[in-house]
Amino acid sequence: MISSVGILFLAIVIVFLEVPSLLQKKLKKEFIVFSILLVIGVVSGILFSFGVKIMSPVDLLSYIFQPIYNLMGKS
């Protein structure tokens, strides 16, 4: 609980640090990418702090590479 509040607080601080200068320079693309990444970060951080099981990219990779990995294990 506390850590999710901390993550939200951190996100607000980051928004205050970055967004004014981005809007001032009218960098629209940067702003969109920045917000998408920030949302991904904050959501995954809060999910993690509540102990929800998120699929890590490592599991995905080991699933994809399983056949090659089995081949390597034999040799």
């Binding site: 951190l10 693309k29 940067e30 990444l37 970060g41 490592v58 990779l61 080991s62």
Partner: protein
């Protein structure tokens, strides 16, 4: 943004740090699991094979000396395929960056701070990395320039203090394992220390002042880094013996524990931990820099700095998710990362060379071609 160029010596230092990287921590144990006391032969073979890989990367980067690897990808493969490969490349870098942070976290918890949870350690490491990346490549290179001396002094103390403990009998039986398994083991090391230096192609020709000198320094730095890994692996085998080395998760840390100079200078391993943390930090910061900078180039963004904070948050979460336990860590380092790096660091560059050969005439007319 492209004005902040680094000198060739700074590049040499970065290459040395990158080559040593995390391999100094866990490679001796991975090698000695596979080939027991012949691990040191595998490191020497890996050094020689690694030079070939570096030669391939230098050739690729010399075609377009003013472009980064991501732009070269786009030039040669075309827009769609080039961007796909670049995205895969950037994702790999990002994954490795957070894996190194997870590594440093696990290392610190298991060896130095047993009662601290992983999150604060990873967050502290990430804060420094994000700060460094925001300050730019020049700052990273300068700090590396200073810290390389600390690194070499500590490394010298470590290796000299261990000389009295060397036991030559640990090398026997000599060359017992099969040549194929020695080659397989050296392949792992080539991947971990050399193939991953495809990361440096993001900064290699485009951010350097003297390209000719830097070309030489790329090779020299790789050789110096590999020699340090050879020394560490050989010392591990000499001092600890191969059974103990393969049982340790961090064999070089166990190596620092047995230092005993006249019953006076003992247990200086925490000092030596500086070595590994320095290496991991620089490798991780280079990965993160290349990932953020690469992402900004894929999306045609002018400044990469706004992306660093959100990516930092994602990196912390990813680093906490990375290794649920130590077996996953071994599986990732010795198997999954090897396959991933082989695909992205060897197959795609070879494909790049092939397509370049086919499209040579058209590409030579390009104004940015050498």
């Amino acid at each position: 943004m492209q004005n902040n160029k680094i000198s060739s010596f700074q590049f040499l230092v970065l290459v040395i740090f990158f080559t040593i990287g995390s391999s100094i921590l866990y490679v001796p144990s991975i090698l000695s699991i596979k080939v027991q006391q012949d691990a040191w032969i595998a490191t020497i073979i890996a050094t020689i094979v690694g030079l070939l890989v570096i030669w391939l990367y230098i050739t690729i980067s010399m075609w377009f000396p003013k472009l980064t690897y991501i732009q070269v990808n786009e030039k040669i493969f075309g827009k769609v395929l080039g961007k796909t490969f670049s995205i895969m490349f950037v994702l790999m870098l990002f994954l490795y960056s957070s894996s190194l942070i997870a590594h440093s976290g696990t290392f610190l918890i298991t060896q130095i701070f047993p009662k601290t949870p992983a999150a604060p350690l990873n967050i502290m490491m990430t804060i420094i990395i994000v700060m460094g990346v925001r300050l730019g490549l020049e700052t990273i290179a300068r700090s590396a320039e200073i810290l390389i001396f600390v690194f070499f002094i500590l490394f010298l103390i470590l290796s000299v203090a261990l000389i009295p403990q060397v036991n030559y009998l640990n090398l026997e039986p000599f060359l017992q394992s099969k040549p194929t398994s020695i080659l397989g083991a050296s392949f792992v090391l080539v991947i971990v220390s050399t193939v991953n230096s495809i990361t440096l192609l993001v900064i290699f020709p485009a951010f350097l002042k003297e390209i000719k000198k830097a070309k030489k320094n790329f090779i020299i730095g790789n050789i110096i880094g590999s020699i340090i890994i050879i020394i560490i692996t050989t010392l591990c085998i000499f001092v600890l013996g191969s059974p103990t080395t393969s049982r340790q998760v961090y064999p070089s840390y166990a190596l620092a524990k047995v230092i005993n100079v006249g019953d006076f200078l003992t247990r200086i391993e925490s000092l030596m931990a500086t070595l590994w943390i320095l290496c991991i930090f620089f490798k991780s910061i280079l990965y993160f820099y290349a990932a953020t900078f690469g992402l900004s180039q894929i999306l045609n963004i002018k400044d990469y700095r706004p992306l660093t904070y959100p990516l930092g948050i994602i990196m912390v979460v990813l680093s906490l998710l990375f290794y649920p336990d130590i077996l996953d860590q071994y599986k990732f380092d010795a198997k999954i990362a090897v396959i991933l790096s082989t695909i992205i660091g060897i197959f795609i560059p070879l494909l790049l060379v092939l397509i370049y050969m086919i499209r040579k005439k058209k590409l030579k007319k390009d104004p940015q071609h050498l």
